[in-house]
Symmetry: C2
Subunit: 359 residues, 2 copies
Amino acid sequence: MATGEPPVPETRVLAIASHVVSGHVGNKIAVFAMQSLGCDVAALNTVQFSNHTGYRQWKGTRTSADEIWALYEGLKQSYLDNFDMMLSGYVPGAASVQVVGHIAEELRERTASAPGDFFWVLDPVMGDNGKLYVADDVAPAYKKLLRFADVILPNQFEAELLSGVKINSMETLEEAIQVLHEHFQVPHVVITSVSLSHPDHPAGSLSVIGSSRTSTGRARTFKIVFPAIDCYFSGTGDMFGALMVVRMREAVTNAPDAAELLQRRAWLSDDSVAAIDLPLARAAEKVLASMNEVLTKTCEGMKVEMQRAEATLDRRGVVGDEARKTALHLLKSGAAELRLPRNVQSLRSPSVSFRAVKM
Amino acid sequence: MATGEPPVPETRVLAIASHVVSGHVGNKIAVFAMQSLGCDVAALNTVQFSNHTGYRQWKGTRTSADEIWALYEGLKQSYLDNFDMMLSGYVPGAASVQVVGHIAEELRERTASAPGDFFWVLDPVMGDNGKLYVADDVAPAYKKLLRFADVILPNQFEAELLSGVKINSMETLEEAIQVLHEHFQVPHVVITSVSLSHPDHPAGSLSVIGSSRTSTGRARTFKIVFPAIDCYFSGTGDMFGALMVVRMREAVTNAPDAAELLQRRAWLSDDSVAAIDLPLARAAEKVLASMNEVLTKTCEGMKVEMQRAEATLDRRGVVGDEARKTALHLLKSGAAELRLPRNVQSLRSPSVSFRAVKM
């Protein structure tokens, strides 16, 4: 890719997710990532918080389900609902999840005669590592609207919640994907950050498992193994989703059968295309390459910043063990914010690469 | 500038302005512009509207003065108020303007022992072309906090409102600037889009007038003449402000006396520096070069899009003269949205150039 040349044709994306004033999670990272890769992004913010909740303290307000719908109606009444793609991330509460589903349904209907003209990347944000951070009625709300999605990006825990399959091995993981394809009719599934132990996973590595269904609903599963980075980040899922929007469109546009693919619902490849040759695999490879570079740089920067943390606390006059512990957590959270604006090159043309392999 | 190399050192900016879901005004354009040039931007949104008000219809909500203050307190309590610069744009109502002033005052106090460590670019958004689009108590609220600002960016009408000087000639314009420097103690003033007739203004040109005060409060006034573009845009003032943040810091960082300048309140140059040698002049030149390229591309794109407008109305089934007139205005507003994401190169390294001349 020539520097400065966007990797995708003009693409108008509706991004529905949280907004934080400071830092880089939700729409705050997704909008910039997609804009940097040349997309025209409509950003519908589901909250406005001072910072992400990982700091354990924040201020701000949520956008209600009615307000989300009103904003969408505002777009519609002014002919601003001409979206090619949609990305949805954190949505506060089941009522709002339902509204997001209605929006997707309407946008899907608008393109009924050209089903390839709308593509929804759904990140069903509900929890991680066995811990739910939304209300109990959110998972059922998501299940009802999965059939409108084109790609879903659950983590391992969210994949369990949606599929009802307890994932504790590669076999059960594949089973969960099969349920999502067949029972919930989801065309593409990517399960992010899988940490199951397996012979071909070197220690300290993670993997992403992806699959595009065949015409008979069978999974075509690939795996991409990449090194884990020893830092705790927030916003990685949001960045993953934003980059998937762009790289999926790019991969399909560059596929040998692009002309046909782009006319089909979910841009689904012919059954003859093998798992590792899927556009979904090409997209995920590029996304992971960018993520690896940005996370590596963030981790380096964070370590440098944390060397000054004790001095900062002294200067700020923070005394007492408990107060210093709390303050240190806040400084660490700030230092771990993804470093995107100064690493745009890693988004545009990452130099590392990871390859999809067959499961 | 090497491609990809940010023009400024790491810079953390607090941007307080409006947010629109679709399109490019307020923070929606300012945040991306500053991020693209390498800044870490905290975006505090004063409204969330579906689209800008130039469409004549929109939906959404305002952030109250209390909510703006709460978000700022949220930043403060988590050590996230370490801003190098601040940019403020549209703020809904006098109470919120007052709150923004308090925020600036606090950030200014925090750096009392190093007055060059905080720099506020204030765009006092109130109206244009003789028409006020805020409540009557907003102008007095702005007047009270001008002394905390480093650069203000009023248009001709706003400069009149703040200075109390009726501007109808180059002489009265200079008088208004003198009042802002001397009575209101504003270090730098840039008056955007001046359209006074004057012998050295070719037909179809506009100018920007800037000045940095001397130690005795005298104006040092320069002028940059540039071609007017025959399209109606929204968000140009917001883009101007965002680029001024970056280019002012760049110009000061690159000045021969950078080390001293960066320690002074408002980075004010020695009295010996002539108007056209001011960092403010260098900054404004670069800003106008980027703006000219982005606006030219936007205008070209808009014309192409509007050729399809009638067909779009037919397809959408819009019938009746009045309905078509309204719909055409909406389509035109959409087509005139600034085209930034695909023209980042014009932000980073514009190829045209305009030069500051002495008044």
